[in-house]
Symmetry: C2
Subunit: 444 residues, 2 copies
């Protein structure tokens, strides 16, 4: 049963920006809405791990004074934002879902937070992450599981589950997340919001706790693609390249090569994509992308945590610990080969974009499973939930390609996401395709 | 007891180039000298694994006709060259010192061989390598050990031992090698010739069988630094950057932080360097460079050979096999950390060049050990020969810096090399320092 919608449900950043400039609302009011909503509604979904009421109201007051004085910082000016707990905000705790960092408070903002502040955004608080972002389910965290606003007994997806749940529940209109194998797009899709993972490196990762440096991306979550675009351009500080006005050439990428998904989910995403020409990956490439992702991700994650793994293993969540210990056994030569494979695959996948600008496919092949569920039945067979969640998102982390998910409708009352992928430099066409397609209406 | 000197002993590429253009000799004659010398003298040192008499004489004839017709391809025109057996030459066997590739004949030239041919050089044959270049001693190869022309009971050093021995014995005036941890500079120093490992990537490695892709460099060996420079500029196809005529600022880098070497070797190298200001690495950096080298090199080498290791381990040399099996156990997270450490160390070491253009230090801390010796006594303590050989050369592979070794004299009748290191783009100053210092006279 869905939770009560918060004040930002059905409202976009672009609508709010108009209201703000028309004097229909102030940044201080928006921030109070967010703070009040977190107090009232967050206990049901656990999207936030902490709020910064004083800091937020001060930033909002400043935003109001600036706007009154004619200083306009652009589309995020005065907007309440949630920041994933993996991303450092000076003065706010950053436990990152782990008992290892209980009580840790960084004294410096991450680069993306600095940019948020420069854009006039108001940081409301930190959102729940799967422990160290190491899991796509969002339900293993020292701060507790984040829950799906559509059904709090189901997972939000992860690891940026708190950010997705916060936007989906209408607690804030915008949130930052990180995406190493789908951690922005998976929870966005499962919760029914838009999520954008830009090209590798497009938003700097400085000040973001690493999961896997080769695959880590900073991304944004909002009600629709247009809001993601507004936040993205604020965070990069650069306008998108123009494309000469031509329409995006969109192809449907058959997801069956990656994983046999829920046919109703696939059909809904395909419907949202329109009826583009169908393309397929060359034989074997889907499996190579998956294996390359798995090796790079797990080995780099162990490199981050090896000292904690040796020194205080008992502080990890048991499932996270078990996964780290398995990953610690992978011999180095497999990683070396995976990194070489990644370079080779970039060329192979590049060929897919020779005749198309945008590839469309589902974001996730199933709807949100129940919390802590690790095996589920798809097409009559038992499948691993983590592998199913990651199947369609992680390839674009291996390749570093921009990938957006937008809401595509509901199956059994649970959201489905349409994913759109492009080459770096073609983001404008990606967002145009999103606007032209079926996914750009929040709450559809 | 030294072997009989061959026809190119005491002759440089630059001298020969003058002779050729003055009509005192032809390329065909130079090639016949080389072919005859290999037949007569190579059995004592095993520098060559095969010669290509027909191909070489054809290329020499072509070089003579071109020169007679006024077409001059530059300093390597008509010069006989040996090519390390790790580097592909179309139509010539490339066993790479291993039974795994017995009878293997590539059908394409490596990129550096293509450039050699374009520069008019005459490829005489392939030179002995340590098996798959995996060892700095040059004495473990399916083709037999290459031997030191100064004393054939001693190692040439490796892995480009055949190239160094061939030049030192006067069989050819120039040879190509590869250098992953010192495999050009170590044998050059131990055999008493000059060897240059350029900046990472300066000479393309396409068509060179990999040892460790992050550390592999193609390099050149010749009688003196000037010949190395001539060959290097032919192989890159680009002239060196000008430096505005200022003198190189040279500093002596204390080798004691890396390894406690033979004091007579260190003293001789230091004398050859003149008496420059002394600098030291920041504390701990030498050990970090060594450990970073070891992890990256061994893990990447296993990645190259994992299938052979699983499928036909008995075809490896037993020592190579033992080392590969140990390296295969290194967990991936150590490699991930080593790669991050490499990036960090580049910054640390960069600081050494703030006040100096060139760092001088010995190339190798001891003279050539007897063949197959794996432990030796230095300063009253037993030390591992491989570690001692690599100690001063491998740091510059980790950092990708240009490094040259030039002959600095003899200790107990065995050659010592002075090593000069610079930043990429400062190669002109490096070679000027070599010319100004004590190392630029072959046979000193």
């Amino acid at each position: 049963m869905p939770v009560t919608p918060g004040p930002f449900a059905g409202r976009t950043v672009s609508d709010l920006a108009l209201d703000l400039r028309a004097g229909r609302v102030t940044a201080t009011e928006l921030t109070r809405w967010a703070l009040d909503a977190v107090t009232r509604l967050d206990p049901a979904i656990n999207a936030f791990v902490c709020v910064d009421a004083d800091g937020a109201l001060e930033a909002a007051g400043q935003a109001d004074r600036e706007l009154a004085g004619g200083a306009d910082r652009g589309p995020l000016h005065g907007m309440p934002v949630g920041v994933k707990d993996l991303i450092m905000v000076a003065g706010l705790p950053a436990a990152m879902g782990s008992r290892h960092f209980a009580g840790y408070v960084p004294d410096t903002d991450a680069a993306c937070v600095t940019r948020l502040r420069e854009a006039g955004a108001v940081i409301v608080g930190k959102t729940t992450t799967h422990e160290f972002a190491y899991g796509p389910t969002g339900d293993r965290s020292a701060n507790g599981a984040s829950r799906n606003p559509r059904d709090p007994e189901r997972m939000s997806g992860g690891s940026s589950g708190g950010s997705a749940a916060a936007v989906a529940a209408g607690l804030v209109p915008l949130a930052l997340g990180t995406d190493t194998g789908g951690s922005v797009r998976i929870p966005a899709a499962l919760c029914g919001v838009a999520g954008f993972k830009p090209a590798y490196g497009a938003i700097p990762a400085d000040g973001v706790f690493p999961l896997s440096r080769t695959l880590d991306h900073v991304g944004v979550l909002a009600a629709d693609a247009r809001d993601c675009l507004a936040a993205y351009t604020c965070l990069t500080g650069e306008p998108l390249e123009e494309e000469g006005g031509r329409a995006a050439r969109v192809a449907w990428l058959d997801p069956g090569d990656f994983f046999a998904g829920d046919p109703r989910v696939v059909a809904l995403a395909r419907e949202a994509a329109g009826a583009p020409e169908e393309v397929r990956l060359p034989g074997g490439v889907a499996a190579e992308l998956r294996d390359t992702y798995t090796v790079i991700q797990s080995c780099e994650t162990v490199a981050v945590h090896a000292d904690r793994l040796a020194g205080a293993p008992e502080l990890f969540d048991p499932e996270v610990l078990e996964r780290l210990r398995a990953a610690a056994e992978v011999p180095a030569w497999r990683y070396v080969r995976a990194m070489a494979e990644r370079s080779r695959l970039a060329g192979v996948a590049g060929a897919l974009f020779e005749r198309h600008d945008v590839l469309a496919l589902p974001a996730v092949l199933l709807t949100a499973p129940p919390l802590l569920r690790r095996e589920t039945v798809l097409n009559g067979a038992s499948v691993a939930v983590r592998a199913a969640l990651l199947a369609l998102t992680s390839p674009w982390n291996v390749l570093g390609l921009p990938a957006l998910t937008v809401p595509a409708g509901l199956v059994d009352g649970l959201p489905v996401g349409l994913q759109l992928v492009c080459r770096p430099g073609r983001e404008r066409l990606l967002f145009e395709a999103a606007a032209a397609g079926g996914g750009d209406q929040p709450g559809k």
